[in-house]
């Protein structure tokens, strides 16, 4: 990380620490909600953006994480037991979901994951004895940390911020390790990657499993944030929305989910003035974004750099041609 990025990271952190003091409770809730979705879409960005797999089932993992924590806490177990259990369960289910990716790709894989999301959602809705069905599970408690209660909105925001930073740092480390290059190689050219000894089978499964674990952790934080869960936030529609967040932010860009989740969570709030036209405005904005920036918002600096380099190369060629002309 260069000096400029370190400064920017500290400024962003300072803003995130200061912002709650200028916000009312709904604003603070929204900010926490955004952090939860950053974490969830960071996992999806690994699967989709870095490893190049198509997944329309991420909301199912988000739901599995939320229900795992809610059910365990209702059974009298600690959040701190529920959180790793949610991550582990999602990791294992994600590993299993990765197997279709070894056989099918592109739109067919997307449909396979979509089918998984639908099945998971039906379990959440129909297995009332376990999940409460459409009545959901309410009064989900917030955890305490080292004897400190996280019941308050501000305390829970700080906790979620801390968790987001920790898991973002872990992902950053993972992507800077040889695994990150292997994921990218898998995305860019699996046949070439395999011929170079990259175990594309193993990395495909891991990209699904780790991405799912991140969604599970985010789901666990979500359950304690909203304190009531029902199947509604875990539909295929939510998976598509998460996919959209990754694509809008910039798939394969580390900070893409930060911007993407802002577009998916915060932008709808800003568009409230449009009232009934909100979805139309939101949809139009996304369509325009995909036309002009198919690689997402964070591709803007790269596009500008590529344009500048092309201009410079063109100028250098013209100058060389002029010199040759002059010498002739």
């Amino acid at each position: 990380m260069n000096k400029r990025n370190v400064v920017l990271a500290f400024l962003a952190l300072a803003a995130l620490l200061v912002a709650p003091h200028f916000l009312k409770s709904y604003g603070l809730y929204l900010l926490t909600y955004w952090l939860v979705f950053i974490l969830a879409t960071m996992g999806l960005n690994l699967t989709v953006g870095y490893a190049g797999q198509k997944s329309l089932g991420h909301a199912a993992f988000f739901g599995i994480g939320a229900y795992t924590v809610a059910i365990m806490m209702k059974a009298g177990l600690s959040f701190w037991l529920g959180l790793p259990a949610a991550a582990l369960l999602c990791f294992l289910v994600g590993l299993a979901l990765g197997f279709p990716a070894l056989r099918v790709q592109t739109i067919y894989l997307a449909f396979a994951t979509l089918g998984f999301n639908t099945a998971a959602w039906l379990v959440m809705r129909n297995e009332e004895w376990l999940t409460g069905g459409t009545f959901g599970i309410n009064n989900i408690a917030r955890p305490s940390l080292f004897g400190m209660s996280l019941d308050g909105s501000l305390a829970y925001y700080h906790f979620t911020l801390g968790m987001t930073i920790i898991f973002a740092a872990l992902l950053w480390g993972l992507l800077r390790s040889p695994w990150g290059k292997a994921f990218t190689a898998l995305r860019d050219n699996p046949i070439r990657a395999e011929s170079l000894g990259v175990d594309i089978r193993g990395y495909t499964l891991l990209s699904f499993a780790i991405g799912a674990a991140y969604a599970g952790i985010a789901g666990a934080l979500f359950a304690s944030l909203v304190q009531f869960i029902d199947p509604a936030p875990f539909t295929v529609g939510s998976s598509i929305m998460m996919y959209l967040m990754v694509v809008v932010g910039g798939p394969g860009y580390f900070l893409g989910p930060v911007l993407g989740a802002a577009v998916g969570v915060v932008l709808p709030e800003w568009l409230r003035f449009a009232q009934a036209w909100y979805l139309f405005v939101f949809g139009t904005a996304v369509v325009l974004l995909m036309i002009w920036l198919p690689d997402g918002l964070l591709s803007i600096p790269d596009r500008l750099r590529a344009r500048r380099e092309a201009r410079e190369a063109s100028a250098a060629r013209s100058a060389a041609a002029a010199r040759h002309g002059g010498n002739a």
Partner: protein, 248 residues
């Protein structure tokens, strides 16, 4: 006499009624650069892909340093020391040139689990730099491989095949689509790599001057069978080869 690095015995592959490869046998010796030529449709690529685990042969045996490798996957072959290039460009476009070279060898370092905690370059930076200098691509080492010219990408593509120091490298048309001024450079590079590292190469190529200049022995394939195997001088003097392929 030393044992062959690669030994192919009676390799056969048919697509329906078409016998693409019909009983091909040859040996590649340690340190040898072995060329494969033949007109389009002669079965070169099918033979190549059978050796490399991309397609399963109907019959025959392929041995690497005496061990049977018939039907092994490209992954297993790479782990046993077989490198390759493809007919078309196969670089990782968004990665830098240096990262392309590093990823080409990183999976040979430690276990998958240990690589999760390894430094980003897997300790392969100096080796990557050595190849970057040898291939004279230092000025583009930090640029995304996809942004380079075709010729530069071709050099990166070839360099990647050598990063893990394989015992055997199969190069599928290394000069395809390359500017004629670069062809001689590729030949010099391959000779230098062969002299420095001592590996064996199998090269499929249509550019006759390139093959004749580079290879120690050449196999001529016609209609899925071996027409001749010999030194460049022997191939040049073979009347059947001249009639069937080289012309006058």
């Amino acid at each position: 006499m030393s044992a062959p690095v690669l030994e192919v015995r009676d390799l056969r592959k048919a697509y329906g009624a078409i016998q693409a490869v019909g009983g091909v046998s040859f040996q590649v010796m340690p340190g040898e650069i072995f060329g494969v030529i033949g007109p389009n449709g002669s079965g070169k690529t099918t033979m190549f892909n059978s050796v490399l685990g991309q397609i399963e042969p109907d019959a025959g045996e392929i041995r690497l340093n005496g061990a049977d490798i018939t039907g092994l996957s490209p992954l297993e072959l790479n782990r046993r020391g077989v490198g390759r290039t493809f007919q078309t460009l196969q670089v990782f476009g968004k990665m830098s040139v240096r990262d392309n070279l590093i990823v080409a060898a990183q999976e040979h370092k430690g276990s998958m689990f240990s690589r999760m905690f390894a430094p980003g370059d897997s300790g392969l930076g100096p080796k990557a730099d050595e190849l970057i200098d040898l291939f004279r691509i230092r000025h583009v080492a930090d640029k995304p491989a996809g942004s380079l010219s075709y010729g530069q990408q071709k050099l990166v593509d070839i360099a990647m095949a050598f990063m893990s120091e394989p015992a055997l490298v199969l190069l599928d048309e290394p000069c395809a689509g390359v500017n004629p001024s670069l062809v001689g450079g590729i030949s010099t590079l391959l000779k230098e790599l062969n002299a420095r590292r001592g590996g064996s190469f199998v090269v499929i190529e249509h550019n006759m001057d390139f093959v004749m200049d580079l290879c120690h022995r050449i196999m001529v394939m016609v209609e899925g069978t071996v027409m001749a195997i010999g030194t460049p001088a022997e191939i040049r003097a073979n009347k059947a080869v001249l009639d069937a392929y080289l012309g006058n």
